[in-house]
Symmetry: C2
């Protein structure tokens, strides 16, 4: 039986929440202390719009943590193993954040928005507390706060046309994670080429929460000729694409090397950063599990898994967990993303997935699956 | 129209989740990255059980942050303005936590569970990140982590009988926030006299997440003679009692003095702690708003408010916000908890509450309302 999401004053509503409701919001979760739309009642149509057309998503839950002041860049450098040499206004960088044990605690996109202000566009954990605690303990001259910024995503192959119609053709020149301030019919936004899908797209970082419904309606109207409709970060597409969902795919001991994020880190850089010592040891030791794809046998899954599924080797030993699964129309198979032991990967024998409905055999493949 | 809570691998299930489902869980939210039951479909019966009988609540979302190691106490002292002189194993303390600006970022109960281990039994924010960031930045010899501990609350006047039947009459001697390790038919728990209601009660801090259903069933069975039934932190009772709900009643600038928490703080103590300087300034300046009760005119509210309601003075000026409202059977009135400007309180003229259904007059009263 389905459980009703209770709405109360503790969890925040996005500036787009009432618009999303009017558009038929059917299901939601909570992310960064804010309601996160997860479905409008027609998963097949929502998937199709994302993959073949264009969809608009309320992703205001992708909150920003602003670092502002003379030490903003110094704090940012201390927070991420990514080398921030050459950071420039207008070009975002994916910047994993680790704790002092080298475990991943968030994987934001980092945007320098002005000379003394940097935003971390975060996944679901209170990085404001992590960054603020470190800044205070180190006596840094920087303010850490959540600004009034709420992303609305426009995703899918036709998103370029929609956003060009709204903003002008300059948006076609934006590089991936590139961004620019823009005045959209008087609504202050940052236009970024980004979004949590591999189908191409943009995010409008709305800079005035009181104008959410206005922005939503503007996008809905501009998207009409292209068949735009509401959607959400798409469960199926993200598994196909192998996008990391922090908190779903990760656990308390996840380190970035396990997710192939070594290329975004410079653990040998001169400056100090949180987790440097631990990450160097982890890098030298190598990983014992990796973030992989699974092709799972059996009848098409009707629903996604509610909880992670354990994996075994062919000999029955523990081999990791599948975090998110789905029937993939494009792979024409059940698929999953999973943390798989290096031993099981290297054996080439696949794994057994322990689902509530029974055990299923699976092949282990590199990501992305599609 | 109601929104379905989507269940997926990102949000954790409590060890009692499946038991709660079998017991008829109807509504839930998310708290500390875990599903939090909020209703079993019969609010009147759930309220009655709490106020006149006994109820059992899955409150595993009240996660613990463990500080373990030689510097555990030093870190705890640095994290809270509460004076921890005389802290002893077996006696918990309410210990507000503030950031360096003096704003409240959580209000846990602090429990010293062994010589080198302290738990913070937290409200809804990632204090693990705050504490871990500070410990790392200050180079302290302490590990910060979330242990496998999941509270189950037994609340209401008859909870004493239920817990005495289960554990023995010694539980009647526990002081408020007192706690003790206990072996409950082989299940390891900490028994604490605590819980988020003013109706009296206990919490079993389950120390082995694999045994949640077993503990749930044990309590359900022991409670049968007393008419126990499932419940949740109760929206109506908490407003009547004026309990603070961090995140609902607070905002980014809330300071503990506004909530009458001055008595739990010692901002003049010798040792340093996060926010000391700011809190001394705030203490000296005095507060401009206070956490108060409202008695609101009009027909009984059928539902709680989804979002905070703004308040005005009789002259129309902004006077704060009501965070949570309800019809109170015991007050025989609509009631709310609210942040009210000192000016409006001192005027004695009451406030106007701006609800979605129109403006309502309210009288401002001290907490608790009942």
């Amino acid at each position: 039986m389905s459980i009703t999401l209770s709405l109360g004053p503790r969890v925040r509503k996005s500036p787009y929440f009432e618009a999303a409701r009017k558009a038929g919001l059917a299901a939601a979760s909570v992310y960064n202390h804010m309601y996160m739309p997860t479905g409008y009642g027609d998963p097949a149509a929502e998937y199709d719009r994302l993959v073949n057309g264009v969809a608009m998503w309320d992703v205001a839950v992708e909150r920003q943590v602003a670092l502002k002041g003379p030490d903003a860049l110094a704090l940012a450098r201390y927070l991420t193993p990514r080398n921030l040499d050459g950071l420039a206004i207008g070009q975002g960088k994916y910047a994993p954040i680790c704790n002092y044990e080298g475990a991943l605690i968030n994987d934001p996109v980092l945007l320098q928005v002005s000379d003394d202000e940097i935003w971390l566009s975060i996944a679901d954990s209170d990085i404001k507390l992590w960054a603020g605690g470190i800044a205070g303990a180190r006596g840094m001259d920087v303010r850490v706060f959540e600004p009034d910024v709420s992303p609305l995503a426009i995703q899918g192959p036709k998103s370029f046309d929609v956003v060009a119609d709204l903003c002008g053709d300059w948006i076609r020149e934006l590089r991936y994670f590139g961004f620019r301030d823009h005045d959209l019919d008087g609504i202050p936004v940052v236009v970024a080429r980004s979004g949590w899908s591999k189908q191409g797209g943009f995010e409008f970082y709305l800079r005035d929460g009181s104008r959410g419904e206005e922005l939503w309606n503007l996008v809905a109207e501009a998207g009409k000729p292209y068949g735009i409709g509401p959607g959400t970060p798409n469960y199926v597409e993200r598994v196909e694409s192998g996008l990391i969902s922090y908190g779903a795919d990760t656990d308390d001991m996840s380190n970035p090397f396990e997710y192939g994020l070594g290329k975004f880190m410079d653990v040998d850089q001169e400056g100090d950063f949180a987790g440097k010592e631990a990450l160097r040891l982890i890098r030298d030791a190598g990983v014992t599990r990796r973030f992989m794809g699974l092709l799972i046998e059996g009848e098409p899954f009707a629903t996604t898994n509610e909880s992670p599924w354990q994996l075994s080797n062919s000999d029955g030993a523990y081999a990791g967990y599948a975090s998110a699964s789905a029937w993939s129309p494009r792979a024409n198979s059940n698929i999953a993303v999973a943390m798989v032991s290096v031993e099981a990967i290297e054996s080439g024998n696949g794994v057994v997935v322990h689902t509530e409905a029974g055990d299923l055999k699976a092949q282990v493949v590199e990501l992305p699956i599609i």
